[in-house]
């Protein structure tokens, strides 16, 4: 028995506008007209409309899009709600994003998967600053189809001239943003005019209704004629006889016999089979989730990409990207974040923030950071080479998210523009003398002992004692502290949050080089942020990074005040001082926790030596 419905696919769309433009009414009405609302829900809706509605007892479609209890209680909005409706021809998924504060973040999230955006305009008000804002985000996120929905035509007496004037004005915005075109539809959503059926009131309009337009546009979200892009998600190895690469074709198509190369290593092979439960396929195209078997055994793992040999993605560690910031904790250039692009995850940092965009005027503004909902253009650098295409060519291989290493929150989303030229000119120099050889010569393992704590807590004193003890044991050591770093390597840095991040990043890099050289390095820095200590740990390598929390209460540090800094901070002479007007984030699980109120400095140093011995770092 064949399935009765044969819809041609799923169209994903986003509606942009606020409640005032009739956005909720439009969505509610689309669901209602397509019979996506069941009778029991409608009965509740009728009751609710009488109770809470704003339509004088008539059905208030906006109430269908009711929020969560948690949102009402906490006065927050969750970024995107997903609504479904279907016609006999097509399935639709609407990303419904709340229209007030945090709008950029919310709309960008919904827009990232949308094929089409409906930009809502109230005919009685005309274009507003938000119209430009919505259109900019739609363009940034690469939405191919734009519908200008000129709503509330009933309020302007269904006046054709008014509609034409709004369309003419929007044309200039569309041109500036580089839209290939847009479709303008006059409507009155509350009454359902020009949604599913044409409106006699607007007989002058001879274009399609909204539904007819949504049903008729091309569904080619991804280009089947483009070069193959197959990010490997999972290697399928049930036994020694089968090795398949599972993933989703994000661009292009593939058939047995096609030559491919791995993007990272450039190794070549041919597609032998496209394996499915129900037998091998003769070919597969965009959006297909398949398992490929190659003719040759080549080393491929998750994060690699199988691509067309004649058109390969960029392989680079430095690139420029548009960045949208999503987190309350602002972007800190220099901080190490995790970048995830498809199945590939690598540490990455912003090396240069070129500018921020004022999304109301679309002007570029200088910026040192990006706060939540801000958009900017940045250069980024990754630890491992990234495989990518420009975002405008392929959303999947050109888009990435940034993850905070400590909170694991998704803090940013990026759209890659192009690789930076210098990326291809820096190659790692292979080492001939290994780490193990250096350790053998030294007679001890390398390590980085990282002392963190408030100013005046006793970090440097304890570090000095530790270094003296190590020297007595014939260990090779070096001490990094504020004095020898701030006056040289980092003398260009101040004490803002962003500079503190860069300070620690550089120290982490230097400590890593010294550890590579085989030394035991003591680092004494306030290093107030967990994320930066985690970054240093990641740089150095967790197995040779020892975090020592020198825990002295603030009052004690203030009373000691060896450098007179607390007095200066108290008088306002010194700004951004940790513990006073800048936060200190205590370690949650340090390797050693030294409570200086309970232990002498010499005992603390001895405890560290004992710890190093117990782990065979020193003999």
């Amino acid at each position: 028995m064949a399935t009765a419905l044969n819809r041609d696919g799923v169209l994903r769309l986003i509606t942009c506008g606020s409640v005032d433009d009739g956005k909720s009414t439009l969505i509610g009405r689309l669901l209602y007209d397509s019979q996506a609302i069941m009778d029991d829900t409608l009965n509740t809706l009728a009751t609710d409309s009488r109770k809470h509605g704003t339509t004088g007892g008539e059905i208030d479609y906006a109430l269908l899009l009711d929020g969560l209890e948690a949102e009402r209680e906490q006065g927050i909005t969750i970024d995107v709600a997903w609504r479904f409706f279907a016609t006999p021809r097509r399935r639709f998924i609407i990303a419904d994003t709340p229209g007030h504060e945090q709008y950029t973040r919310n709309m960008a999230t919904g827009a990232s998967t949308a094929d089409l955006a409906i930009i809502l305009v109230d005919a009685s008000k005309g274009l507003l600053p938000q119209t430009r804002r919505h259109s900019f985000i739609a363009s940034l996120m690469g939405i191919g189809h734009i519908v200008l929905a000129v709503n509330k035509m009933d309020l302007v007496g269904f006046d054709e001239a008014r509609f034409r004037a709004i369309v003419a004005e929007y044309t200039t915005i569309a041109e500036r943003l580089g839209f290939a075109g847009f479709t303008a539809i006059p409507m009155a959503a509350r009454a359902g005019l020009n949604l599913a059926s044409p409106a006699a009131e607007m007989a002058w309009y001879d274009g399609p209704t909204l539904i007819a337009h949504l049903e008729s546009i091309e569904l080619a979200a991804t280009d089947a004629s483009g070069p193959l892009r197959f990010p490997v998600q999972w290697v399928n190895r049930p036994d020694a006889h089968f090795r398949g690469y599972a993933g989703t074709i994000v661009a292009g198509q593939v058939k047995p016999g096609d030559p491919i190369v791995t993007a990272r290593s450039g190794k070549a092979s041919k597609v032998a089979r496209i394996v499915t439960v129900d037998g091998d396929l003769a070919g597969a195209g965009p959006e297909a989730a398949v398992t490929l078997v190659l003719e040759d055994e080549i080393d491929i793992s998750r994060g690699d990409m199988l691509v067309s040999p004649e058109s390969r993605p960029a392989v680079a560690q430095q690139f420029a990207a548009d960045l949208i910031w999503l987190d309350e904790d602002a972007l800190k250039p220099g901080r190490s974040y995790l970048l995830k692009s498809g199945p590939l995850t690598t540490p990455a940092s912003v090396t240069l923030l070129k500018h921020r965009i004022d999304i109301t005027t679309l002007d570029e503004r200088p910026a040192r950071t990006l706060a939540m909902n801000e958009i900017g253009l940045a250069n980024l650098e990754t630890t491992a080479p990234l495989l990518f295409d420009p975002y405008t060519d392929c959303r999947d291989t050109g888009g990435f998210i940034l993850i905070d290493r400590y909170t694991n929150n998704t803090v940013g989303a990026g759209m890659i523009r192009h690789a930076l030229r210098r990326a291809s000119n820096i190659h790692l120099q292979p080492m001939t003398v290994t780490q193990a050889q250096r350790s053998a010569l030294n007679g001890h393992q390398p390590a980085v002992i990282w002392f963190t704590g408030l100013s005046g807590s006793g970090k440097s004193t304890i570090a000095n004692l530790v270094e003296a003890r190590l020297a007595a044991l014939s260990c090779h050591t070096y001490a990094l502290d504020g004095d020898n770093v701030r006056h040289g390597l980092n003398r260009d840095l101040g004490f803002t949050d962003a500079d503190r991040v860069e300070n620690i990043r550089r120290i982490g890099e230097v400590a890593k080089l010294m550890a590579d050289a085989g030394l035991i390095v003591t680092c004494s820095f306030i290093s107030p942020f967990r994320s930066e200590r985690e970054m240093a740990r990641a740089l150095v390598g967790a197995d040779r990074f020892i975090e020592v929390f020198v825990d002295t209460p603030l009052e004690v540090c203030q009373s000691r005040d060896p450098k007179g800094l607390y007095a200066k901070a108290a008088s306002g002479e010194l700004r951004n001082f940790t513990g006073i007007d800048s936060p200190y984030e205590a370690p949650e699980a340090p390797q050693l926790h030294i409570k200086t109120q309970e232990m002498s400095e010499a005992d603390a140093a001895e405890a560290i030596i004992t710890w190093l011995r117990a782990r065979d770092i020193i003999g």
Binding site: M1, A2, T3, A4, L5, N6, R7, G9, V10, M38, D39, D40, L68, E69, A70, E71, Q74, I76, I78, A81, W82, R83, F84, A86, R90, R91, I93, R105, A108, T109, S112, T113, Q233, W234, N236, P238, F242, G244, A246, G247, T248, V275, V277, D278, G279, E287, A288, A289, T291, K340, G342, R395, G399, F400, I401, I403, N408, N409, T410, A413
Partner: protein
Amino acid sequence: MESDAAIAAYARRFSDPDARARGRGPALPPDLARLEAEAIHILREVAASFRTPVMLYSIGKDSTVMLHLALKAFWPSLPPFPLLHVDSLWEFAAMGSFRDTLRDALGIDIRVHVNEEGAARGINPFVHGSALHTEVMRTTGLLQALTDGGFDAAIGGGRRDEEKSRAKERIFSFRDAHQGWDPRRQRPEFWRTYNTRVGPGESMRVFPISNWTELDVWRYIEAETIPVVPLYFADVRPTVIRDDVLLMVDDDRLPLQPGETPMMRRIRFRTLGCYPLTGAVESEAETLADIVAEMADTRTSERQGRVIDRDGDGSMEQKKRQGYF
């Protein structure tokens, strides 16, 4: 039994090369093909990103579709994670036998967890009410099983069309170390690049069929010939009507009220859960094609028959924040 034969034939499709070649029916309609590919992508992302994932298996149609998707996503390997059934001890009898037959035929790992403390206390939906029963035997039982198993990702069959609080659910829904769902800590999801990172003790609930509707599920079951519990098909069964809910007298634990006599009615179920909390519908739909036709015309929502949704405004959302799926 007819159902057992259907399950055996289904299992052969994954093991016997000839049955595989024959099993290939007409291509899926484009909308279902897109939904299937999306779900498979999500399942593979879970398998590749988490240390100890698990798939929640309630024996219902959505779970069985998810299992089917997992069998396809990882074939010729078996799904690289176990399935977990949290048994409330009040399931329909037909569900247990379906589960065991399917497990044996496919050779997959289905673990069954019962909240033993709740069982020892004799928690009973008729005596203690639907809310307490569901909390103890489902929610607490699930949390126990997830903690005991040390699972860092639990794959569930939730769909965004099911209930209004689900419309805002993420595909990867973050849970803190107490299995709590905090709307403030949910992560924005861009493209299909999911942030799968969790800290110690934290976990993820993952919903690969988020974007499916009830009708999609049935169309897919029909197109892919997936066996489901026979209770989904109309048959003459003993029933009582109580508080407007059509209950099936599945065993002798249903206490009849004075004047109540079970009546034989032709019924089927749109959703399966604890039998005393699951309402049937009167129906003539005896085949998958009948069900698809019935669904395409239906004017009532699927959860209408679920007693627990009636426990107050926002009740589903509250259960979710407590850890219910």
